[in-house]
């Protein structure tokens, strides 16, 4: 009897707890479900974040690739423009030379020309001695007769009357900021100007390369890098000068000196003026020109 009452009491007292427990358990299950949902969502978000990061990286890579491609295209465009003008200039010069050549074949002039050629051939190019010019070796009468023809032969090239066009010399330093350890100058001329120098005709491309190479050497002296070694290399079909500066104490404004000096060195060049070519210098970071491994 007592036990029955006790059981009834316990059941009565326990009832609210059971109900509460059921409610708490339900809440716990709900909370766990929400937590699992949140964790799944967090995992999904992390995955999405990685995808976005990868896409962003791919975009940067693609952007760099497109910018490099743009630089390559610009170099090729400048090169082809210069080569086209070079061919036109060769043709124009040949026409003028033929006309002058006919005048030089006149019986009154031909002996003086022959004497000049003889004198030229007698100059020993490799002798190291300061030889007189062929003109000085002529008789006074031959010299006077030939003078206008000599001037005409050495006159600036005939103008193409072509629209003015700009081509770029690309300058880069590595590292791009701070004291440079290496300098790269990419000329808007085909590498063959260097690689096949003895086989190619000395055309507008060659003459521009001469002027720019001379400018680079003169500038290296000015910036304190006269001992730096210059190496010629092919970069995307163009001729490039690679200069290892290493530990040389060069001036801090090397980049500006080269930007001003390289373009300035070709100002007023008669063959460029005749061809309607203007040369400008542009500075680019090295990663736009070549794989730097960075």
């Amino acid at each position: 009897m007592l036990l029955d009452r006790l059981a009834a009491w316990q059941a009565r007292e326990q009832e609210p707890f059971d109900a509460a427990l059921v409610a708490v358990e339900e809440e716990e299950r709900t909370a766990r479900r929400r937590l699992e949902d949140a964790l799944r969502q967090a995992a999904a978000l992390a995955s999405l974040r990685r995808e976005q990061e990868e896409l962003r990286h791919q975009l940067e890579v693609e952007s760099l690739r497109r910018r490099r491609e743009g630089v390559r295209d610009a170099l090729a465009l400048d090169r082809s423009l210069l080569e086209a003008r070079a061919a036109e200039l060769v043709a124009a010069q040949a026409t003028r030379d033929r006309e002058l050549g006919v005048l030089l074949s006149a019986p009154a002039i031909a002996p003086a020309v022959a004497a000049f050629v003889d004198a030229s051939e007698q100059l020993a190019v490799a002798s190291g001695a300061v030889a007189p010019s062929a003109e000085e070796a002529l008789s006074p009468s031959d010299r006077a007769l030939l003078k206008p023809y000599l001037l005409a032969a050495s006159a600036p090239p005939p103008s193409l009357d072509a629209p003015s066009a700009g081509i770029g010399v690309v300058i880069s330093t590595d590292p791009p900021q701070g004291r440079p350890e290496a300098l790269l100058v990419v000329l808007p001329v085909p590498f063959a100007v260097y690689g096949d120098a003895t086989a190619r005709p000395e055309d507008l491309c060659t003459l521009l390369a001469y002027r720019l190479v001379a400018a680079v050497h003169a500038l290296l002296d000015e910036v304190g890098a006269s001992e730096a070694m210059v190496r010629f290399a092919e970069l995307h079909g163009s001729l490039a000068l690679q200069v290892w500066l290493g530990e040389l104490q060069v001036v801090p404004d090397l980049r500006d000196r080269f930007l001003e000096g390289v373009a300035g060195a070709v100002e007023g060049a008669p063959e460029l003026e005749a061809a309607g070519i203007e040369v400008y210098a542009v500075w680019l970071t090295p990663d736009l020109l070549m794989e730097t491994g960075a």
Binding site: G101, A126, T198, F232
Partner: protein, 164 residues
């Protein structure tokens, strides 16, 4: 009939470079460093003389200097030239001075000899702004002289042995 007008012009850089057995850009480098590159990029005799002087160009082999011996005697003659010209450390010479005036086969023989001598310590080599330069090591002068004068000494057969 038309005369070739180019004969009336001063020399081209490429023409002078060919005559001096240099790359045209080396001619440009020498005159640019000297601030004496003509504005019309055409060279007169005085410019050529300047290139020769600035570059330290020498002609070791030419008909005017007598008959150039054929290999292998050429290698002994080369040793003699190096010593006669005092190309002994600390005096250096441009590497191309050793080849100027030689035909392709003789140039090949000189190149092989120089390579062997550098490897075996007879000569030193260094890179400078004007390219590869060479010099005889002071310690090897006596042995090189014995080789040059009589084909004797430890350097006798050195080049030939490298071909085997």
């Amino acid at each position: 009939m038309s005369t070739d007008v180019s004969v009336l012009r001063p020399w081209s850089i490429v023409g002078v470079a060919a005559a001096l057995e240099l790359h045209p850009f080396e001619v440009v480098r020498l005159l640019a460093r000297d601030r004496s590159l003509p504005g019309d990029l055409r060279l007169r005799p005085g410019d050529v003389a300047r290139v020769v002087e600035l570059g330290g160009l020498e002609v070791w082999w030419s008909p005017e200097r007598g008959v150039t011996p054929a290999p292998p005697l050429l290698v002994r003659a080369l040793a003699g030239e190096l010593l006669a010209r005092g190309i002994i450390e600390p005096s250096w010479t441009r590497a191309d001075n050793l080849f100027r005036g030689l035909g392709p086969a003789s140039q090949g023989a000189v190149r092989r000899a120089v390579n062997v001598w550098i490897r075996s310590g007879v000569m030193g080599s260094r890179m400078s702004a004007r390219g590869l330069e060479l010099s005889v090591r002071a310690a090897t002068v006596a042995d090189l002289r014995a080789f040059a004068e009589g084909g004797a000494g430890p350097f006798s057969g050195l080049v030939e042995a490298s071909d085997e």
